[in-house]
Symmetry: C3
């Protein structure tokens, strides 16, 4: 380990990515979502158990996990439980609304956002086109205007669940990023909705998901180009813990930051796979220490272990530390 | 199994994809092409055997399978055989013309389209650029105008055979879709021309084609984003039936709907791999039954097995049934 | 083997790709880069050993291999050694400058281009955006103008080292190709900077690099769409010669034309993997012979082994021969 501070005016050393709004990302606290679990909105008992689940992100579910005749009940439950739970330490309280195409989205938002304790994250499924993200944003903006809640700015996570959504992913995220800079929400991640994706392209699922290598790796790569989280596919056979572990580790190697979960049994295995290794934590700790020392000394470019370090890498180090902190708290 | 009909005005439940011209696709009968076999245009004997082959799609070949000095003979044979064969039950009679760059395309179309029984499908190889699809369309339009055949609207299948064709694929299909909406042809599928692709990028073929995972899976994904068929690579070693079976099953898992064939021996193996499984047929049958019952009852969103069903999924179910019907007829 | 010359006016047989500036590429001699090795600019002893290394491309390194406090020394060494070495037969003498974002690029170019024997190839790392390639080009143009060196037109190789660089790759190369046509430089290849890429997306490296299949295969495909070289990832464990061999062969099967090297021990293994096979050389030899015979006879389309041959394939054949020639000389 070693770092160097050199006599180059710091104003001249502009890391290639600082100018790309990563600094503003840095000003928001990183929210780890190694485990993202759906809790059906119509099931009040399960909703109330969220604080003891031990997940990073609990999703109060309005969409596919809720039958059409229970949508209304689910909304009311979610509004109530949001206020009951208030903040749960170390848990991101999220709501998955229905898609733009469902015609249920507006009512979802209208009911849920009347909670005093509004969700910190909104999940938007089936984001297939730029039009979808525009319509969602217009809808959210209009409701916030009506209800005079100007200070609310949730984190937003979109879903890739179809071939169309994949080929439009870059354009969709670019638009969402623009809205994000306007302060309507904070674009924070993308979820790979694999089951709908399989159905959409008529692919057949196998244990190692080799048939979706292209899709799965493209999603994580595009997400990372926007410096947002990427949350991996559901492993549906909740009794197969070995299969779950292998798929979780594969996702983590691909660069995913977390994974969707459909059963509490899956939490410890998935959590472990997406927890940074001891070496990674050591690296992050040293990098941050070196950076702080360098900041004190004032001038010069920042290098670590012989390499010039750019801001994205520093943020990654901070995210690693933020993630590891969630371990001890859960 | 179960479906629900709820009191939501159906006008409000607009599936996310209905607006994307899938309905018009639905109005055309689905043509299964599990097996797509080339028959060289200069070989009259082979052309006449098409009715007994048992392929879903018989390609009367003008391009790479025909030497330059036999192009003219091939065109004449094809024109003649088209009229001899007329319709062959359960077989899509297609013609592969020469590419736009060959300077042979116009003559191909000019001769072949004088047949009384014109081919139901035209295959356009080496579609590398948007310019290629525009020039093809202009050529077809001009010939149809000259020959006063206004009612002819073939299905069109394009080829991805080069890196350039792949990076332009989305733009090419988008343009072809626009022409399709204008009624010049009906864009129906894409073929992966793997041998030319290998040569184009200097890749080396292995048995599991791992070196083209990205290309092969991208092609099927982009095709499905346009809701058209994707037809997989040729398996060149026609004596290796085990290898053929594995590659066919791999293609089917990837979401391909069929495969190119170069020898009659390959037909049964490939046909089987791309025939929907019993479970899939059962799913499709029940979904369609549920939808018809729901249509009778009139109002409400359509859900099946607890999920809201959108139009693309219903069309997939119909395609499954249409495909399975071809089994019993062949 | 066999080829045919037919009575079609050659003016009518325009290969699909000739119009895409491949001819101008053909007029430049192909420079094989099976092995591309970095030599740190601050290490004068190593720089002077370049002629005995036996690499196809020797990279005089200013960037990550040189600590910040040695950048100035590295530049001066490189300028000096360029003039000492002059031309080394069969070796492409390249310089890797610092990235646009580093603020060191201008000084790199300003010092190094004062050498009388300027580098034949410039390598530009961390080309993440179109803006990066524009700024680099502006910088190069401005320095050449100042220094009155109008006749210098280096080959240019860019790097994909981040998710952002990957999703912008097509646009970046398109812009670089435009500059290339203006004669500022000759766009010649792309390098996959895997280590930075792993760090950028938070992926974890395994021996077979399965976690970057999408990235690695996309890079070679896009590069080939622009008809430029693709140079594969570094194999970091320089003691594992079996692992190196497997990864080199894998890269060659993917279509890569060469590989980065960090230790002289790696040269023979990598060189062998990227040297065309005897069958490939035989194919190229026959194809070129057939083409030359066809050129003599004058008229007609050019076909080989029953297929019409387009210009890219002929260039590939020539590149094969050019590459094999480097074997005997090294």
């Amino acid at each position: 380990m070693g770092y160097e501070v050199l006599g180059v005016p710091s104003s001249k050393i502009v890391s290639r990515s600082i100018s790309r709004n990563v600094v503003s990302e840095g000003s928001r606290k990183y929210v780890p979502r190694r485990t993202l679990m759906y809790v059906p909105g119509h099931d009040l008992k399960k909703l109330r158990k969220i604080p003891i689940l031990g997940v990073d992100c609990a999703v109060l579910e309005c969409e596919d996990g809720v039958a059409l005749n229970k949508k209304s009940e689910a909304r009311e439950n979610i509004r109530m439980v949001l206020d009951e739970l208030k903040e749960v330490k170390g848990v991101d309280i999220a709501v998955r609304v229905n898609s733009v195409g469902s015609q249920l989205l507006e009512e979802d938002l209208r009911v849920i956002l009347t909670a005093e304790n509004r969700p910190s994250t909104v999940l938007l499924p089936k984001t297939d086109t730029v039009k979808d993200i525009v319509q969602f944003t217009d809808c959210l903006r209009s409701i916030l205007k009506d209800s005079a809640l100007p200070s609310y700015c949730p984190r937003l996570i979109t879903y890739v669940e179809s071939a169309e959504g994949l080929i439009n992913m870059k354009d969709i995220l670019r638009r969402a990023e623009t809205f994000s800079h306007e302060g309507i929400y904070h674009l924070d991640g993308v979820v790979f909705g694999a089951d709908d994706f399989y159905a959409d392209i008529g692919a057949v699922k196998t244990l190692d998901a080799a048939e979706l290598t292209y899709v799965r790796q493209k999603i994580v790569t595009v997400a990372k180009a926007f410096r947002i989280q990427a949350i991996d596919m559901v492993f549906t056979d909740y009794k197969d813990s070995v299969g779950l572990q292998l798929q979780s580790e594969q996702g983590a190697r691909n660069g995913y930051t977390g994974k969707q979960i459909i059963h509490p049994n899956q939490i410890p295995i998935v959590c472990k796979a997406f927890t940074p290794s001891a070496e990674r934590v050591e690296w992050a700790t040293q990098l941050i220490a070196a950076f702080e020392k360098h900041q004190e000394s004032g001038e010069g470019a920042f290098t670590f272990q012989g390499h010039m370090v750019d801001m994205p890498l520093l943020l990654q180090a901070k995210n690693v530390i933020q993630t590891i902190k969630n371990v001890h708290k859960a």
